[in-house]
């Protein structure tokens, strides 16, 4: 039987839940940030443990492996320097051409390395936490990439940590273009039967018979958050809706979202 205490508890928790669910977004972010501060010691401990493990692993590496790695990195560095020289030239040419046609100049991004310190605690959102926050210059809507492709965008920047909404989450719709056919589409949240975070759904703006498996998908630059040309993924399969009006495709993301350890935040 329900006693008076139970009635009071139900009423109290009901009111609290309703109050919290109806908080304005900025206030909700602040309250979340304040409660999340309770985990700062644990995040700190995790970072310290990672650092100890990394150092121990470096000490255990044989000298020959280190020399091999050094040589490989030196080679890679030389190649990247050559590519950067070419890119600088192309950037200057691009800026000249954009000025000639009166388009707004596109400034280069400042990539900032961040470490992934936590993942989404539930199964129905796709987010992760990184170890940079507003004190490091991070702000909402900054683009996050990995070495292989688009990861998502900063959805909430706390003081020391930020939450990143991954591609395929409701908070991270991405306007994309199929590279080979130039068809435009939107990556929307959608869970495939496999539950694989690496697969997302792409809804194209129209029926596109030329779309096929193996074609690459990149950001279109529309929408104002993601710059154009960032690799997103590869089409796995396609299907048309019942009225044959839209084409939907499953896309395998190039970035392995489940295994990310480090990401780059592109700061303007």
């Amino acid at each position: 039987m329900l006693k008076r205490t139970h009635h009071l508890a139900i009423l109290g928790v009901g009111l609290l839940t309703l109050g919290l669910l109806n908080l304005p977004e900025p206030l909700e972010a602040r309250v979340k940030s304040a409660i999340g501060a309770a985990f700062l010691p644990l995040f700190g401990l995790r970072a310290a443990a990672n650092s100890v493990v990394d150092r121990a692993a470096y000490q255990a590496l044989p000298r020959s492996t280190l020399v091999d790695n050094l040589l490989r990195l030196e080679r890679e560095n030389a190649e990247l320097r050559a590519a950067a020289l070419q890119a600088t030239d192309l950037l200057a040419e691009n800026q000249r051409l954009r000025a000639a046609i009166g388009a707004a100049p596109r400034g280069p991004w400042r990539p900032r390395l961040a470490r992934v310190v936590g993942r989404e605690p539930t199964t129905w959102w796709r987010t992760l936490q990184i170890n940079l926050g507003s004190r490091d210059g991070l702000a909402a809507d900054q683009v996050v990439v990995s070495g292989t492709g688009l990861v998502g965008r900063v959805s909430q920047a706390g003081l020391t940590h930020s939450r990143v909404a991954l591609v395929g989450d409701a908070e991270c719709g991405v306007s994309v273009v199929v590279h080979e056919t130039r068809d435009l589409g939107i990556i929307k949240p959608g869970q495939t039967l496999s539950g694989d975070g690496g697969l997302v759904e792409l809804t194209l703006m129209q029926n596109c018979p030329a779309i096929m498996a193996g074609q690459t998908v990149t950001t279109s630059g529309l929408g104002g958050v993601f710059p154009a040309g960032l690799p997103v993924g590869t089409i796995v399969d396609t299907r048309n809706d019942a009225g044959n009006v839209f084409t939907t495709a499953r896309v395998r993301l190039t970035a392995q979202l489940n295994r990310l350890e480090e990401v780059w935040v592109l700061q303007p």
Binding site: T17, L20, I35, W124, W125, Q191, L193
Partner: protein, 187 residues
Amino acid sequence: MNRSTLLFLALAVWLSAFAQTQFAALREWMSVPVALGPSLVCYAALTQGPGAAFGLALLGGLLSDALSSAPLGSGIPGPFLLALTLHLQRHLILRDQRFAQFWIGLGAGVGVPLLTLATLALTRAEPVTGAFTVLQLLGLGLVNGLACPAVFALFDLLHRAFDYRPLASTSFRPDRETVRGRQFRPR
């Protein structure tokens, strides 16, 4: 009054909320995070008072929401309703039996996320759900079904180690004391 069990439970809820965001390899293998919150709420509801059980449910929901993309408050009703139901029915539950603990944990592991999803359905949030969500719920149920007996064993151990031992009762009853002598006056 010794409140060490309650303190340990609060600590475990805090650690469990953090653990849900960690162990990437394990969660990739199982397709579900290591979420032990429902098992801890079960233990609190079946062994502690209503205040402690409801408080822990509230704490777990808030801590989990703070680390998640979910709207703040959506994680509260699930654990709270679980705590309330178990607390009201605790005289009927064989809480010392391992098989009962397993089934309670399994039910809680499935029920709490389901209630959270139901709460989310009342808001404007768009959780990523699909056919695989059913398997994920079963996975969460199984994790909690296996964890629940372990939680009971661990906290019973901690309770025995840190709480006051109950006083041994004697057979002496003052109302049955035979009082003899001239000063005897019936009570």
